[in-house]
């Protein structure tokens, strides 16, 4: 396993995409957090604190009205982790160097987890620097830990799902498409259909029932890790109560674990 990690470490260090993906995420976070911090510093509504930190750290995603952009950028890192193996015909060279496929996949999971967590952590620190730089009130320790941890966990799970999509499809382009479309399009379509059916039912306001399916849309559920308000709150009149950060995080974690389990089975059994 150590050898597989050494391989993965060198693989990541010696390829440009590692740097431009992390650089893009941090640069995006830096520019946007400066813009938001500047805006908030000139606002009479906010003077900083938890709410300002949550909005700046997630670039508005904590409001539930925007996706967590850094997760999408860093998520590509997970896709490329496995996608490069197939796109550039590296997989056979990799497996003749390290025949233990379990180690190869495990090393990629570990590397993706560590790198995406560190990248997300840097993004949170960039947000804090912007807050300090513009003289806004600092968040409480609880808000810092809760939101920081939630953002990091979501980003890691998001990146791992990208890795799993690439391992399952063995096609980098298809994996990128899945990573972008499943959270943003597929889940929205499912949500719209479920809401339409529930709204058209005899008792749309009845608690529970069919609409509870929405609680298990994995990326939406995982979003509770960093959202502090959500469009889902507007659905309470349909008897819908979403999971909190812990429950939502568990739903997403189970989904990603299932994807990785499928990836593992296929990776071990398929011809290289």
């Amino acid at each position: 396993m150590i050898d597989a990690l050494r391989y993965e470490y060198l693989r990541l260090r010696t390829i440009r995409s590692t740097y431009w993906l992390i650089g893009s995420a941090v640069a995006f976070q830096l520019v946007m957090s400066i813009v938001l911090a500047a805006s908030i510093s000139s606002s009479d509504t906010f003077s900083g604190g938890d709410s300002a930190f949550e909005i700046i750290a997630t670039i508005g995603a904590s409001s539930g009205f925007a996706p967590l952009f850094i997760a999408y950028i860093i998520g590509l890192f997970g896709v490329l982790s496995m996608g490069h193996e197939y796109r550039h015909g590296m997989i056979r060279a990799t497996l003749t160097a390290i025949p233990h496929r379990t180690y190869v996949l495990a090393a990629k999971i570990v590397a993706t987890t560590v790198v995406s967590a560190l990248a997300a952590l840097v993004c949170i620190l960039v947000a804090l620097l912007s807050i300090v730089g513009f003289g806004l009130d600092l968040p409480t320790a609880k808000a810092l830990v809760d939101l920081g941890l939630g953002t990091i966990v979501f980003t890691v799970l998001f990146a791992l799902s990208g890795l799993a999509f690439a391992a399952i499809t063995r096609n980098q382009t298809a994996a990128v498409a899945l990573l972008l479309l499943v959270p943003s399009v597929l889940e929205s379509i499912i949500r719209a259909i479920v809401i339409a059916i529930k709204g058209a039912s005899d008792e749309p306001g009845e608690d529970g029932g069919f609409i509870q399916i929405l609680k298990f849309l994995p990326y939406d559920a995982g979003g509770k890790l960093y959202t502090r308000a959500s469009l889902d709150d507007l659905l309470s009149f349909l008897g819908y109560t979403p999971f909190g950060p812990l429950g939502g995080g568990i739903v997403m974690a189970v989904f990603v674990a299932a994807l990785l389990a499928i990836s593992y089975v296929l990776f071990v059994r398929r011809d290289a």
């Binding site: 050898d3 597989a4 050494r6 391989y7 470490y9 060198l10 693989r11 010696t14 390829i15 440009r16 490069h84 550039h88 015909g89 590296m90 056979r92 060279a93 497996l95 003749t96 160097a97 390290i98 025949p99 233990h100 059994r269 398929r270 011809d271 290289a272």
Partner: protein, 303 residues
């Protein structure tokens, strides 16, 4: 020293049996050529040997399967396809990455870069390499662990004539050091001067396995050139003995009889012989003959 033993290798794609019950041995100190028409299952066989594809049978390297080898690049060097690398990762970094997984020092990376003639482009991006340079980088990767066994799939692809000459010398040298070299190639003339042993397959099945000289001598395409002022007397007798005769510029070319048989018959009928020369089939002729019926894609053949 490593002995490769492949036993009962088999692979099925859907309804098609791509490789069928192949068993052979590759001995240390020799170059074993792996021949077969396009699509005959050579690459699949090599992948089966290295555990990259799932299938029947097993291959051992000194008694151990590839997956059981610790730091396999130190035991078996493999080149399976052209350009198996990321186009923008520097050539040297590509090798460093592979070396790291097998605890091979970076110094060896520089050695093999120089050995394959890529020392001057160590910081080059393989995406801009020619096919021949890509093959050299692939060979460098195969040699990285100084392995006792080499499995090379069409390593001469893309190499220029000097490169092919260099590769021949290199592989002969490596075999001379006691390594087992198993190499596929479609360049039959090259294989004729490179290989000591042959494994010939067609449609995934074994057609021949043994020394190159045996394979060629078994070919019915070998002939005996007969120059005789009494050809008119001799020819009907040779035909009666089963020879197939043709005339090439006044020389009678007989197939199906040995020089001894022809000499004896000439003596028996009192025909004078001015020349009696055994002409062996070339490897190419022997190969085409051996694979002729098994050639899957030959014109007018079975689909």
């Amino acid at each position: 020293m490593a002995l490769i033993e492949a036993r009962g290798l088999g692979k099925t794609y859907g309804a098609k049996r791509a490789v069928d019950d192949l068993s052979f041995v590759v001995r240390p100190g020799s170059v074993t050529g792996f021949l077969g028409p396009n699509g005959s299952g050579k690459s699949t066989t090599m992948r089966l040997m290295l555990g990259l594809d799932n299938g029947d049978g097993s291959t051992t390297f000194d008694g151990r399967r590839f997956g059981e080898l610790e730091h396999p690049m130190r035991h078996v060097g493999a080149l399976l396809e052209a350009k198996p690398f990321h186009p923008t990762r520097h050539a040297r970094d590509h090798l460093r990455m592979l070396a790291a997984s097998n605890r091979i020092p970076d110094g060896r990376v520089d050695e093999v870069m120089d050995l394959v003639g890529l020392g001057s482009v160590a910081k080059g991006k393989p995406g801009k390499f020619s096919l021949g340079m890509g093959q050299r980088l692939g060979l460098a990767a195969a040699l990285l662990g100084n392995p006792h066994t080499l499995i090379l799939d069409e390593p001469s692809n893309g190499l220029d004539p000097q490169g092919i000459h260099w590769l021949r010398d290199l592989l002969k040298h490596l075999a001379g050091e006691g390594r087992a070299v198993f190499v596929s190639s479609h360049l039959l003339q090259e294989m004729a001067v490179l290989a000591d042993q042959l494994v010939v397959i067609g449609r995934g099945r074994m057609l021949a396995n043994g020394a190159v000289s045996e394979f060629i001598s078994r070919s019915s395409l070998g002939a005996v050139e007969v120059r005789s002022p009494d050809a008119a007397v001799l020819a009907p007798r040779l035909t009666a003995l089963g020879a197939e005769l043709t005339s090439e510029g006044g020389v009678l070319v007989a197939r199906g009889l040995t020089a001894e048989q022809i000499g004896d018959e000439a003596h028996a009928v009192g025909a004078r012989l001015h020349q009696l020369v055994t002409r062996q089939a070339t490897l190419e002729e022997a190969f085409l003959e051996a694979t002729g019926l098994a050639e899957e894609f030959r014109g007018g053949g079975e689909a």
